[in-house]
Symmetry: C2
Subunit: 408 residues, 2 copies
């Protein structure tokens, strides 16, 4: 299945971005990150999308122009020589042209152009600065991330399809899981199942240095090994060069198997976690798992428009505290992460974040993965993660896999 | 298999980087990209590796400190509060401290610190500039990329293992290939085979916006679809959100099947391409394939220390021209790429590049993927790619898969 995004939707996306630009006195936005280009045009060919504060955008493409012309909702032109970029911009968007010399000396404020400072490499900005020396550059990361925060019905359809695909792969893995199989074997099977169903082969993540692969599968103490990954449980991985996700550890009985997986269908990701055990878990881990579900149910009761994001995180801290599990919540000790959930969409780490300081009120169209987990060093990780869309009246649960501690 | 890098090797790597820093009057290098951190320390936990021009480096780690301490050859300390970064740096490395106020007014040159401008996001540099306001920042990308250009015996061992793994997966795929299978099905099988053998699940690429997934598999016209990917044949892919690699097109008889695949073992990648056909190819495509092999053999005859990289590209252009295939070489028309090969190692797009302007003389320890290919729009792509290590006297071919046009 390939979901078609209606052409009018791209116009709406551009308009939403332009409204935010106008509110911040930004004259133009030069976007170049592949995911942002895709979001705003329907194509992710290499180049620059120039969005003026008023008027139509222009997609200057280096490669492949032909493909961008076939795919993009925006007007596509060949980028040509980068040296001419400034003149090109001035012709296409007179308000973005360098001010006349007289205005420069009388202190007229410079043109303000935004770029994606959170992902744009320094060397790339320097190239733009060379050809556009009259510009005051500002960080547009939050503007584009906030524009992308609210999903349309067609985006939700992609995420629902990803949720269906991951559930098929999950049930397939459960049907084959045996003690003695390595984490890697089980994970490879899941990846094979999602790929055949149309997983793009990568899950995109915006954060510097972050790689999500396809999530993690970790059993017993291997799941609880701390790592750099910006999540509650990254997993041991295959070695220092791949320090997350599945390891070569054989899976045993009566230990928690954390299966935190996702896939990417038509660009959109899903994220879900289930806890599985072959046999039975020790009582305290069962209780911790149940506390994770209790957190999820309590958070669900507040999942409706108007709730401030950080309130959901605070609620989860409170329940973990009441259960005497604060030290184990969302990682252990110094390696705890300070959030309960995160937006998902074209990337795994979208807005909003359920963390202190994130005061966004929930709005219809937000899609959030909520992942209460408890880490027990040398023993394992238990927890659950669902992805939700906020609706007019509450939420739609997007993940469809069965819940509860899954005993095989 | 997990290859162990000797601890002394990290000292040598740091020393090679320091020599380059001294030659460019750089007082210190603050590295933060995950692959560069791994190369210089043996760990890729999130943080900053501070390399002074003289003396021992210090790895300030945000997360996970415990894991970095277990893995890294360098001294690891917790990063702590980022606000204290400047004071911390001054204590650990007095030469990098802010100059006394008197020196500032007498025009003493500022401290010169390097960072990886080719990958470091603008927002990350701005954070460093805030806590280190006395610093003149310079681009250290080329220094670290040149340091990584020459591979050690233990690095070569990793690449040889990756070459073995991809060959097993390739032969497995050939044994199952049938007309009517989709590109995606065959590619999923290859990915499953490499993953079970220890592929990390990702192949890292340094270029902004570039994603390599696991290469591409393309049959007939789908292989020849132009795309953004910085290579001669990116493939059609699964849609505009994944515009490269395998598509859902069924593979037919008597058409070229380009299998350009790699994997990542212990962090190191291999890259190889073979052309396969079920049945027989039209005569002109057979001739183009043979021209690709002829280019490879001619280039091999110059693969020894001292040959300038760009000469190999020029030679390939000349042979393509003599064969009347210039328009088809390394892509078609406006979508041609202007190189013949590229370094590989921890990333797929390393130095040296076999392209005009790259005057590096070949040196023992360089590892280069050389990939002459010919693109025929609406018909397909044919070609071959081997990876080579330069030795004292010539080269070692690292890829081990059988050559020639493979007829099934």
């Amino acid at each position: 299945m390939t979901t078609t995004i209606p052409q009018t939707e791209y116009t709406q996306r551009i308009q939403r971005l332009q409204q935010k630009m106008l509110a911040e006195n930004i004259d133009g936005f030069i976007l170049s990150q592949n995911v942002d280009l895709y979001y705003l045009t329907g194509s992710m060919q290499t180049g620059y999308l120039i969005v003026p504060a008023n008027g139509e955008p222009l997609y200057l493409v280096r490669r492949s122009v032909v493909r961008a012309q076939q795919e993009a909702a925006a007007v596509v032109e060949p980028l040509g020589s980068f040296r001419d970029f400034g003149a090109r911009l001035a012709r296409a968007f007179p308000p973005l042209a360098p001010p006349p010399a007289a205005a420069q000396t009388t202190g007229q404020p410079p043109i303000r152009l935004a770029a994606e400072f959170d992902v744009l490499p320094v060397a790339q900005l320097q190239r733009l600065q060379q050809v556009l020396p009259h510009v005051a550059w500002v960080d547009g990361s939050t503007l584009i991330r906030e524009t992308r925060m609210l999903k349309s019905p067609s985006e939700l359809a992609c995420i629902r399809e990803a949720a269906r695909v991951i559930d098929v792969a999950f049930e397939d893995a459960l049907s084959k899981l045996q003690p003695g199989m390595t984490e890697l074997e089980v994970m490879a099977g899941i990846e094979y199942a999602i790929r055949r169903q149309g997983h793009l082969g990568t899950m995109r993540m915006r954060g510097y240095n972050q790689e999500v692969i396809t999530g993690m599968l970790g059993a017993g103490e291997a799941a609880a090994v701390p790592t750099y990954f910006d999540g509650p449980a990254g997993g041991q991985g295959l070695g220092p060069a791949g320090p997350q996700s599945a390891s070569r550890r054989p899976i045993g009985s009566n230990e928690p198997i954390l299966i935190d997986i996702g896939c990417c269908i038509d660009g959109y990701v899903i994220d879900q976690t289930r806890t599985v055990v072959i046999g039975e878990l020790p009582e305290d881990l069962v209780r911790a798992y149940e506390t994770a579900e209790q957190i999820l149910r309590s958070v669900e009761s507040m999942l409706h428009p108007g709730t401030e994001c950080e309130k959901l995180y605070m609620l989860s801290l409170q329940i973990a505290h009441q259960a005497g599990l604060s030290d184990h919540f969302m990682g252990f000790g110094d390696d705890q992460v300070k959030f309960l959930g995160h937006g998902i969409g074209l990337e795994v780490d979208e807005l909003p974040v359920l963390a202190k300081g994130f005061r966004y009120p929930l709005e219809p169209g937000m899609v959030i993965a909520i992942e209460p987990k408890f880490t027990f060093p040398n023993r394992g990780v238990v927890g659950i993660e669902n992805s939700y869309a906020i609706t007019d009246t509450g939420f739609e649960k997007l993940t469809v896999s069965r819940e509860g501690l899954i005993r095989l």
